[in-house]
Structure formats: C-alpha cells, structure tokens
C-alpha cells in the first residue's frame, strides 16, 4: 500500500507538471526586433526556419531541382533571395504522399516548403525577403506547440469520468460522459474505427492497450519528430490514448471509452500513434508545425477517421504562471500556420476517402473530424480552435462544473471530463488512465477532456458508421446529442458530452423487426434440437433482446455474438403442432413479433434389426465385441444410447463404449446378457443372448446337474445336431434311449424324477464322437 501511495503521488506530480504547468518552450523572439509587431506570434517563431508557399509558376521552375536536393533552381530571383538568407535546405512540408499524392496536390499542399536558413538571420527579415520573391505566395514563421494535458477493470472505480455515481464531496453523480448504457445497449467500439493520436508517443505495447493499438510501421503509427517508425513512449500521449481505447472489460487496469468488450471478444476502436513530441527540447522538429501537420495528414492517409489533438500553442510564453495582457494579445493575434490549416482541412475532407474524395468501400465515414483541446489557461481564446474547422473541447471536473483551468468561450464546441484538482487538491479528482511501462497515472487538463470526446466520437462512428455516414453526421450527433442544459444557459464550455444522448439522438424510437430464416425447417423429429437463424433489425440501431412464447416448452432463444437463434429442442415437448410467437424488444421497450409454426413428429421406438446370437466361449478370458448399431435401429434416425444387463457378473464382464459392446468371459458357466437401446425419449428395444463359457478343451458335452435331483440337462458345444442319448442304470436297465436334436443353448432335458437314487451311465453320440458320463441320482 505504501508503494502504491508513493507511486500515485509521483504520478500526480507528473500530471500537473506536464499537463498544465510544465510545457514551455523558450523560442521567443526579442520584443525589440524590427517588425516584430507586424507579425503576430513572431516571438514564438523558431530561428532559421520558415514555411514558404509557392505559386504554380514558381513550382514549375523549382520543383524538380528541389526534389533532387539542389539549392540552385531555375528561378534566379529565388536563388538570390536564398543566397542572401543563407538558405541551407528546402524540402516539401508534406512529402510525396504516394497513393494520396493526387489529392495532396489538388489541395495545394505540395506548395508548402520548409526553408532552413542561417539562424543569425532574423526570422521576420527572412519572411519579408521571401515574400518579396515573385512566385512566393506566403512566407510564415514556424511555431512550436505544447501538450495540453477509464466493466471489470480493476481501476474502473477511479474513473469517475466514465461513471460518476457521486458518493464523495468531490464527486457529483452524472458528471461523466454517460457511457455505460452505450456499452450495454449500443456499442463498445469497432476495430475499423481508427483514431490518430497526434501527441507524444503512445505506449503501444501497454498490456491494457496493445490489442487496440496500431503498431508502428509504414501504414501505422509513426514518429514524426524523427521521421521514422520508432515510437518514443510519452506519458501524455499514452494517457490520452488510454482514455480513448484502453481495453475494456478485461479484468484489469482501466476502461477506455471505446475500448471494446474484451471478455465477450469484441475489439475496440484502434489508436494510431502519430508522435509529434519528444523529450528533446532542442530538436526543432519537436512539436513544430511541420511535424504536426504531417502527423495530422498521415492519419487521413492511413485510415484514421478521427484526429485526436491534445496540444496547442503557448500562451504563458514566459512561463511565469499567469497570462499577461501582452501574452494574451499576442496569442489572440496569432495566425494559425497555413500548413496546419491545410492539414486539418485535408483530414476533414479526405479521411476515409479515396483520391477523388469519395468514401472508400469499407470505410465507416466520409471525411474526418479533428478534435482539439481548448487549452488550460482559463482564457477565452485559442488560435487553432477559433480559426480552424475543429471540434474544440473544454473541460469539466468531477463536480460537473467547468474546470478551473479550462479555456472557454462560444468557440468551445463541447465539454469533456478533464479533472479538476483544485476541487480537493487530490489526484482523485483528475483523470485516471494509462502510463508507460504498463502503469497507470492521473492527469488533468483539456488534454484529458479531449480524448473523451474522441472516444465518444469513435463510439458514434462504431454504431452509426457505414456507407453514407459523414463527418457532419458525426459532429451533429456528437454536439447535438450532448447535454446543453447541464452547465446552464451561461455555459462557456459548450454542452456536456453525453454518449448515450448522442446514440439516442434522432427522436422517435422505431420498433425492431424480427424474421425467421425462410429456409428453416418447420417439422422436427421428436429428438432433434434445431437452431433457426433469426434476423432482428432495428432501424435505430438499438440493442435488442428476443424472447419466444412458451408454446410447447421446446423453444428457447440463443444469442451468440450478437446473432439470435430460435432453438427448438423437441425433446422438451410432446409431439404435435405448435405456434410460437417470437418477440424482439429494443432498449426502449418497442417490440416486433413474428409467429413461427412448427411440428414435432411422433416418436418411434427403436427396433431390433438383428437379434444377438448366443455365443460360446471355449475358455475364460475370451473377449467378444459387437457393433451394437448393427443390431438396433431407430426409425426416427436418432442416435441411441446403449446399456446392458447381465444376470451373473461372475461369468462375464461387459462394457459399452463408442457403440461397441465388449464381453469378456470371466468364469465357466452361462449368463444371460440383455442389451437395450434407448432413444432420447426413453423408448427402448432389447435383445438378449446367452454367453456360455465352457471348458471346451476337456469336455465334449455337459450333463448337469450331477448329481441329479429331478432333471438332467445335456448340452454339447456344437450347434444343433442329431444326437443319440442313452442312459442306463448300473445294471444296464435302460432309462432313456433316444435320438434328439439339441445344442449348447437348447439342451436336452431328461426327467429323472422317477429314477431311483443311484449310479447311471450316460452315453452321448453325435457325429464321430462318443462321450460317456457317469450320472448319479440323489
């Protein structure tokens, strides 16, 4: 417990430091620089770098040379300007997009070039000189961004943001995203819905995320800072990704908003890590416009439908803990770089689409949605959210009120839970999600609110997505489905996200319909269990249940992986004709019914098709086996169960296995073995046979009992045969002298009840054999 507390404390510190206070990048241009005031945000520009937008004429002159890495082009004016600025390299901001190059060019994104020049050259001067070159449409400084900082999952109880039941002073019931009912009745996610997490690198191998994470690779997650596929794991990026897609209902850790239903085999939405931040503050690519823009575009080109962005530009530039008027005004006048705007518009337009902008087959949505955190400065501006076509996300805390840090304004589209440690000065009021090294951590900020919205958006696409589903429909269902009364009419952070409300949006509930597979049989043998497919359709996409009226007792409903089956277990009912009413009921109680008539055929008893023949064992230990199926048959064709009964288990041992009867002789003598075949309804057929175990080697005949009381029986070890039998007294008086036909199983019976006690001689002759036995009468 102590270790846990220490970890939590460290984690909490880290959250605060990285999410709300930590991230500041000193790339400020001195205020006394010329023209500094003419370019908003100039103090934030990176030294020695600029983004230049060329027109088509210029591109026709320079593109081939720049592609080959040359600095000298066919444009002398550009060459002169570059030389004056000490340009050291050019490259396309949005590199050749391969399959998607066509639409990249159509959107003009090939016009953006990153120009690297002498860092001693003032940025503003460089921008002016570049813009003065004919064919240059625009030259812009390069900005750097900062980060903006959960079912049986064991830590689910800490995820008030998913399910807030109140019960503590810092909690208010309902101050959550209202997602549990969505999981139960609508969806838990869909693996075809990909959210690109434009952030620090995600711990893709986290045990509570891996199944829902897209591995790094040329078609997957990518490190845009280093321009390679080695993701550098980051606390912030991992936390954000975990909120969206941590594996839900897997018995451990936390739940993700769209993390699937692991226990029931349902995979969640996928997260793609598009790494734009690392820990190297001296890396010009770390959080740069170019890095971020490429990361956003990458998502659109690699299957993402939702772009999750919990980052923004610096407001507290001097990092003194508050926003000065100058900082405020500077931020307010900041123009979002063209390449970022282009990337966002590209994502919105082309995500889920082909080069022509048409929805791709199999895509869940036409176009994409870029979701941004509003910022954590408690101010009413944010350049990106205000200038770009994004969904801006404010934050509320566990008491259901605007988080103390959340930026606000009419431009905030929706509010998500971001936590608010100012309520109780405890991490418990912040957001609990994944941390690197298979750990978990608390963080707070609009960075945490944003992925909740991304997660809900992913659920909406999972539920309603498909051909014809558009980004506009998603945004409408997300915003219009949110609770716009929760914060009151004066809310400054938009309506509270409401996952269930978004699912229900659309007004009147439509009753589901239910149909029986038209090719299903309607007549069943009395022993059969038959599964009949049911088709349940709900126009609203509501989750439905199916029930069957108890017409015969044979009906039941089986649900497997979302499919319904009518199961007729004929054994549970008497033969006859029945009609069952099948009812589909949606979440809101609306029902659809269909009648299904069926017949259970009369049961027929099994029959003996071949009686067992008596068998003679000539020795102890002999094993006889019988394929019982050759002896019995069931007119209904049902499988039979076999049993045996023997009246003397000292003589033989029997067992039945795999429809085979095995009989082993144990001792001399005879036993009757009854074999029965029983059908599922208990009707049986029986066949008996006698196992006679004789000492065949030493006795040609058996005469028994001896001594005789009344009746003497004589049997041979052969089949029935004409046999001479002569029984005389010891003085030759003939008692019995006949030729009879008998055998081992049809012994000759001689009534000796009238014979006087004494010794008799029996002579039995058949074939070439003559056997003599002394018989005594008691």
């Amino acid at each position: 417990m102590k270790k846990t507390f220490i970890f939590a404390a460290i984690a909490a510190f880290a959250i605060f430091s990285c999410s709300r206070k930590e991230i500041t990048e000193e790339t400020v241009v001195p205020e006394d620089q010329p023209k500094a005031e003419t370019r908003a945000g100039v103090s934030r520009y990176q030294k020695g770098r600029a983004v230049v937008t060329f027109d088509d004429n210029m591109l026709s002159l320079i593109e081939e040379d720049l592609k080959d890495g040359k600095l000298a082009t066919k444009s002398s004016s550009l060459n002169s300007a570059m030389k004056a600025l000490g340009v050291t390299s050019y490259h396309r901001v949005f590199p050749d997009a391969g399959e998607y190059e066509e639409r990249t060019r159509r959107e003009g994104m090939h016009r953006f070039y990153m120009v690297t020049f002498d860092q001693e050259t003032q940025v503003t001067k460089a921008l002016d000189e570049l813009e003065a070159v004919p064919g240059v449409l625009k030259a812009e400084g390069v900005l750097k961004a900062k980060r903006r900082a959960a079912v049986n999952d064991t830590h689910y109880g800490k995820q008030w943001h998913l399910k807030n039941s109140g019960g503590a002073s810092y909690l208010k019931a309902g101050a959550d995203i209202n997602v549990e009912e969505v999981w139960k009745n609508y969806t838990t996610g869909n693996e075809n819905v990909i959210v690109s997490v434009v952030d620090g690198g995600v711990a893709l191998n986290h045990t509570d995320l891996a199944d829902n994470a897209i591995a790094a690779g040329s078609n997957g997650s990518k490190n845009f800072v280093k321009n390679n596929y080695n993701i550098e794991v980051d606390d912030h990026g991992t936390h954000v990704a975990g909120t969206i897609a941590a594996i839900t209902n897997n018995g451990k850790g936390v739940a993700g908003v769209a993390g699937g239903d692991y226990a029931n085999g349902v995979k969640g939405c996928k997260v793609m890590s598009c790494e734009i931040f690392n820990d190297d503050e001296y890396d010009d690519n770390n959080g740069s416009d170019e890095t971020i823009s490429n990361a956003i575009k990458w998502g659109a080109d690699h299957g993402a439908l939702i772009s999750q962005n919990s980052w923004g530009y610096y407001a507290d530039v001097d990092d003194n803990g508050y926003i000065s008027n100058k900082e405020y005004n500077d931020l307010k006048s900041l123009v979002v770089p063209s390449i970022l705007t282009a990337a966002i518009e590209y994502f919105n337009k082309y995500a889920g689409c082909d080069n022509a902008g048409n929805q791709k087959a199999g895509s869940m949505m036409k176009g994409g949605v870029v979701i941004f955190a509003a910022g954590n400065e408690n101010i009413d501006i944010d350049p990106i959210c205000m200038q770009c076509d994004v969904v801006a996300v404010g934050a509320f805390g566990p008491t259901g009120k605007k988080a103390s840090y959340s930026n606000y304004g009419s431009w905030v589209d929706i509010a998500g839970p971001g936590g608010d440690s100012d309520i109780n000065y405890s991490s418990s009021s912040t957001i609990y999600s994944l941390a690197p090294s298979n750990k978990y951590a608390y963080m707070e900020g609009t960075s945490m609110a944003c992925p909740h919205i991304s997660g809900v958006a992913a659920l909406i696409v999972s539920k309603f997505g498909g051909q014809g589903f558009t980004r506009e429909a998603l945004i409408n269902r997300l915003i219009a489905g949110a609770d716009d009364t929760y914060f009151g009419a004066s809310s400054t952070i938009g309506p509270k996200v409401d996952a269930l409300g978004s699912m229900k949006l659309g007004g009147e509930n439509h009753a589901p319909t239910i149909a029986v597979d038209a090719s299903a049989p309607t007549s069943f043998k009395s022993w059969e269990t038959v599964k009949i497919a049911l088709t349940v359709t709900d126009e609203d996409g509501d989750k439905c249940t199916v029930s069957a009226s108890n017409a015969s007792g044979a009906e039941s409903i089986l649900e497997e992986k979302g499919a319904f089956w009518l199961v007729i277990n004929a054994l549970n009912a008497e033969p006859g004709t029945y009609t069952t009413t099948l009812t589909a009921t949606d979440t809101f109680g609306a029902t659809g019914t269909v009648d299904f008539a069926y017949t259970i055929q009369p049961n027929q008893a099994p029959v003996v098709v071949k009686p067992f023949a008596n068998i003679i064992s000539g020795a102890v230990g002999q094993i006889f086996n019988f394929d019982i199926t050759a002896y019995f048959n069931d007119p209904d064709g049902e499988p039979l169960t076999y049993k045996f009964n023997l009246n003397d288990n000292q003589i033989a041992h029997c067992n039945v296995s795999n429809n085979m009867l095995y009989v082993t002789s144990l001792d001399f003598g005879s036993t009757e073995i009854e074999v029965s075949a029983k059908d599922a309804r208990g009707l049986t057929a029986t066949s008996k046979f006698i196992l006679l175990v004789r000492d065949g080697d030493s006795n040609g005949i058996d005469a028994y009992p001896n001594p005789v009381i009344n009746n003497l029986y004589i049997r041979t070890g052969e089949n029935e045969e004409s046999t001479e039998v002569r029984l005389v007294s010891e003085t030759g008086s003939v008692v019995y002298n006949k030729t009879s036909v008998f055998s081992a199983f049809n012994p000759l019976h001689i009534d000796m009840s009238a014979c006087a006690p004494g010794v008799y001689k029996l002579t039995v002759k058949f074939g070439c054999n003559t056997y003599k036995k002394t018989i005594t009468k008691r």
Binding site: N706, P707, S753
Partner: protein, 310 residues
C-alpha cells in the same frame, strides 16, 4: 406228498405277496441283483436251485445249504462290472457251512467302487468330482424241513453312496424254499431281494428290485462226465419278467465249462445278455472265470473267483 404241497403252498403265498407289493417307479439298488459268483455268472445268473456251491449262498439261496454235498465252501471273487457301462469294480467274498444234514449258515460281503465322475452344478459348471461306492453284507440260514424240502432265509444290508454326503442304507433279504424231488433234480421257489423302501432327496420312495423266483436244476452224471442245466425265472415286482438259463459241463469234477443266457426286457433291472464261463477244481480248490457279453452296457464284464470246498 406232503412236501410238494407245502412247497407249492409256500410259493403261491410268496408270489401273491409279490404281486400285491408291486413297486412304483424304478428299482433302486440294482447292484443287489448283479451276481458276483463266477460259477453262476458263467451261466447267466441261472443256478438258484443248484447245490454245487454255497459260498455265496447268503447272496442267493441259503435253502440249498442243507443239501450241499460237502461241509464248507468259501470263495472270493473279483468282478469288473460293465466296463463299457457303469464300470464298477466289485470285490466279494462269501462262505457257507453245512453244520449237519439239517442246517447250515452262510455269510457274504461285496464292495463296489464305481467310476469317478465330475460334479456339475445347475448351471453346468463343473465344481468337483466324486467316486460312488456301494456295499452289501448278507447272512443266510438254511434248514431242512424234510428230507426233500428245505427253507433258506438271507438277511441283507446294502449301502449306497452315489453322491457326496448322500448315503442310503437298505435292509432286506431273501426267502427261499428248496425241494429235491429226486436225485439230480432240484427246485427253488421264493422271493428274492425283498428290501424295505428307500427314499431320495425329494422324499420319493423307491423299492429295491424284489422278485418272485422259481428255479429248477437238473444234473446228469455218466462216468467222468457231468452235465448240469439250470433255469431261473424271476417276476420282478416292478413289472418285468426275466428268465435265465444256463448249463455246465464238468469232466472228472475237475474242468468245467459253462454258458447261459439271461432274458430280460430293456427296462428290467437285468436286461438280456449271454455269458460263458469255465473253471478248474483240484483238491477242493476251485478257480472260476466268467465272461458276460451280448449287451452293449454289460458286455465285457469279467468275473474271476477262487474257492475252496471240503
């Protein structure tokens, strides 16, 4: 004439009693009717009225003892009985003593050992084996009623153990009259093997093979040759009539040959068979042999005897 009337009256009485006592069911203890004397076996069991030997008189007819030509007669025999049938071995001994012209006594004993057989239970399962055994002990008394008429009475005890722990005892005897009408002739009448009933395990009662007997003997002597003919007629109370006829030729009272035929219905206690026999006698010591044939069950029965007479 008084003697013949007495003999006939006695025979009639015994015969009537025999008919009245006709048994129900099969004859028990049939071995009591199997002769062990090689002399009479050689004549197919005929010779009840013959006075030549009295050693086994206690088994047969003690009434002839007073008319025995010598004083003492003792003999022993070994018999392989029915080797193709019941396969019984019999060892027997007997002795007769004519005390005077009026009275004489006899004793005889016979032990029978059967073939060992397998014991089977009701299911036909062999559970063991057993060797059946039997024996018979007899004592006889003969006394002359007149110079021509005598009576003989045998007391017999028979025991049979056919199965394990299944011993049955029987008590009975023979009652015979002997009448000698003229030299060389002899007649016997009486009841043989009249025993008390025995019972089986089920409580059923069985009679032993008693019969009413009428026998005759004729001996013709000329020089060293002697010819004897015997006839025995038995009417068994169980309903069968049997007859045995035998003859003997003797030379100088030293060498004897015998032959005989016994008639009996198939179901009679003694069915039909034939026999031959021979014997030698010297200084009172006699060795006899008999062979029984013409019966598939009793055939090949051999009887050998050793006797002494003085």
């Amino acid at each position: 004439m008084r003697t013949p009337k007495l003999f006939l009256a006695a025979f009639a009485a015994l015969t009537i009693g025999a008919v009245a006592a006709k048994a129900q069911g099969e004859d028990a203890f049939p071995f009591v009717r199997a002769d062990v004397n090689p002399v009479t076996v050689g004549k197919a069991f005929a010779g009840s009225a013959n006075t030549e030997s009295i050693a086994f008189g206690a088994f047969n007819n003690s009434a002839v003892i007073p008319f025995f030509g010598n004083t003492f007669d003792v003999a022993a025999s070994f018999q392989s009985w029915a080797p193709d049938g019941a396969k019984t071995t019999k060892i027997s001994a007997g002795a007769g003593y004519r005390i005077n012209n009026r009275i004489g006594v006899a004793l005889a004993f016979s032990s029978l050992s059967g073939e060992s057989y397998d014991i089977y239970n009701d299911a036909g399962v062999e559970t063991g084996s057993f060797t059946p055994k039997s024996m018979m002990l007899a004592a006889g008394l003969g006394f002359a009623l007149t110079e021509q008429l005598s009576a003989g009475l045998n007391f017999k005890y028979a025991r049979q153990e056919a199965a394990k722990a299944d011993v049955i005892d029987a008590f009975g005897g023979d009652l015979m009259l002997y009448y000698k009408p003229a030299p060389g002739f002899g007649l016997t009448a009486g009841v043989a093997s009249l025993f008390a009933n025995i019972k089986d395990d089920m409580g059923n009662s069985y009679k032993l093979p008693a019969s009413a007997r009428l026998a005759g003997d004729y001996t013709y002597l000329k020089d060293d040759n002697a010819f004897t003919a015997d006839v025995d007629l038995d009417y068994f109370f169980s309903g069968n009539f049997c007859a045995a006829a035998g003859a003997q030729y003797g030379y100088k009272d030293m060498i004897f040959v015998r032959a005989g035929y016994h008639y009996g219905p198939e179901k009679a206690v003694l069915p039909s068979f034939a026999s031959v026999g021979c014997g030698v006698k010297f200084s009172g010591v006699r060795i006899d042999f008999a062979y029984l044939t013409a019966n598939k069950d009793l055939g090949n029965t051999i009887t050998v005897g050793l006797g002494y007479t003085f």
